[in-house]
Amino acid sequence: MNKRAFIKKIKEIAQQDKRRRLDSRYLKVMGFLVAKGFLYTNKKIHLNPNGHINLTDAIWAGRFVEPRILEVLPAAYGRFKKHFSGDAETVENLEHIIEMIKQKSDHKIEFYGISIEKIRPWFFIRLRDRRSKSLDERKVSKTFRFKPETVDILKKLKDQTGQSETAILEYLIATKRVDSSYKI
């Protein structure tokens, strides 16, 4: 194919791309991802921060309109699960990626051709709404049974410092006031 024929053919396909950028599936997904701060666009787009996203639509938009959607989709799903729904296979696939990232696994896995190295950073970025926690900021619930005098000390420290009891315990552990050689 010569250069002129190539450009003609490219222009035809570009028209199809243009039509797809007007598809409601793409606009809805982009509106959500831009509103949350995962993606940026210089086009005017209706923001959709509270929308519900069908994973099949999001994958379609990533495969046929904007490949960067596929790069951020696992993190968007992981951080805003209530906004997404989809078939069991896709959900299982995404949960597997999230688990691999939590475990800091170096397994070579991909999501529609996107490597886990490219997917990982989006789990940790600070998002526009400032409310959703990144994977490394998320708290894990644990229950302990303390002696009453320990609870009293903790309360006193809380009053003295103005910090929460959790923050005090985290500080003590982080500063290794109790290290691995500690024995009862």
């Binding site: 194919m1 250069k3 190539f6 450009i7 053919k9 490219i10 222009k11 396909i13 570009a14 028209q15 199809q16 791309d17 243009k18 701060g37 379609w60 046929f64 309109v65 904007e66 490949p67 960067r68 790069e71 051709g113 190295e117 950073p121 989006w122 970025i125 600070r126 998002l127 526009r128």
Partner: protein, 108 residues
């Protein structure tokens, strides 16, 4: 953000903090970014201790077409269709890019 950085640790740390505060991510593979021949540098900022330069848009598109065609397929088609980058196709050919990749069946 893709950028080739030449700076000390503290300047890089500050840059990373600024990017994070603005919801941006630095691509740690940036040092692998390939800059094609004939690329023009465009000065963005020149302060006392900091210089920031951009690569011209056409060269950036050539780089993307050669090294990350899958992720930029639609972008390259859009750029060719816009007629704003008259040498883009020639430069992709010159750099052994696979033009047919951008014509591949795009049907659902």
């Amino acid at each position: 953000m893709d950028a080739k950085l030449r700076m000390d640790y503290y300047a890089k740390k500050k840059l990373m903090d600024l990017l994070e505060a603005n919801g941006l991510v630095f691509d740690e593979d940036s040092h692998l970014t390939w800059i094609p021949e004939k690329a023009k540098e465009v000065e963005l900022f020149k302060f006392k201790n900091i210089e920031v330069k951009l690569i011209d848009a056409e060269s950036t598109l050539v780089s993307k077409a050669i090294h990350a065609p899958q992720k930029n397929k639609q972008l390259i088609r859009q750029a060719i269709d816009s007629d704003k980058f008259p040498l883009l196709v020639e430069r992709i050919i010159e750099n052994n890019g696979k033009l047919n990749f951008f014509l591949e069946d795009n049907s659902e």
